[in-house]
Symmetry: C2
Subunit: 131 residues, 2 copies
């Protein structure tokens, strides 16, 4: 079973979780880890490792808040240490439309297809609204 | 002075705020209103109205979490009631890269230019990362 992990700065993953669960309900295969100032890199890595242990063997789709930040960099390092970076997929710029698309498409596609479909859908993740 | 208002479901705006402030620090012209289940539409509209009163006269850039949700619909209604919908700009699919771009570009452009530049930048707001 594929798993989704949302990582990011501070309360971002938790905030996205709250919005996604209002719309889709709770999903057991979607996990959220925020790197708060209090927990730091060590606490973040511990929390992420705990999730990775619990889903051992599953394919992982990571949605990170932004490219180049400490949460994404430490997530990649963590996946690499466990030898699962190769079979994981990482997107940056997580938002509600992208998360809902990935969650809803997870069981319809292989990892390769999911990557293609997500990038095809990308143009709809952010829009200007004419009212 | 242009103002940014992030609206969305539940804890999403607050989560985005926490991440953005870790990176950029606090900004007085950026506001966040989440529609929690407890506050409902009425409480959301009250909180938003309070912000709109405090920034009376300013041009408003709205970043909403998703198209078609109650937070965006009620925000548009609220802007319309106050006669400022026309001179406001609304984007959906708020995320950390788009918020940082908008905040950082706010004083460099007119509203029309900001719309164009944001849409040009859109392709960079969500990315697949090859590691």
């Amino acid at each position: 079973m594929k798993q989704v992990i949302v990582v990011g700065h501070g309360g971002f993953p938790g905030g996205l979780q709250s919005a996604a669960e209002m719309i889709l309900g709770k999903r057991d295969n979607v996990h959220y880890v925020g790197m708060t100032e209090e927990m730091g890199v060590h606490g973040f890595t511990q929390a992420l490792s705990k999730i990775l242990e619990s889903i051992s063997g599953g394919e992982v789709v990571v949605l990170a808040d932004i490219l180049g930040g400490s949460p994404l960099n430490n997530t990649a390092a963590c996946l690499n240490e466990r030898g699962i970076l190769e079979k994981s997929m990482i997107f940056t710029g997580a938002n509600l439309p992208s998360l809902i698309f990935v969650i809803s498409s997870l069981d319809d596609y292989t990892m390769g297809e999911l990557k293609e479909q997500t990038l095809l859908e990308q143009a709809n993740f952010f829009s200007f609204i004419r009212l």
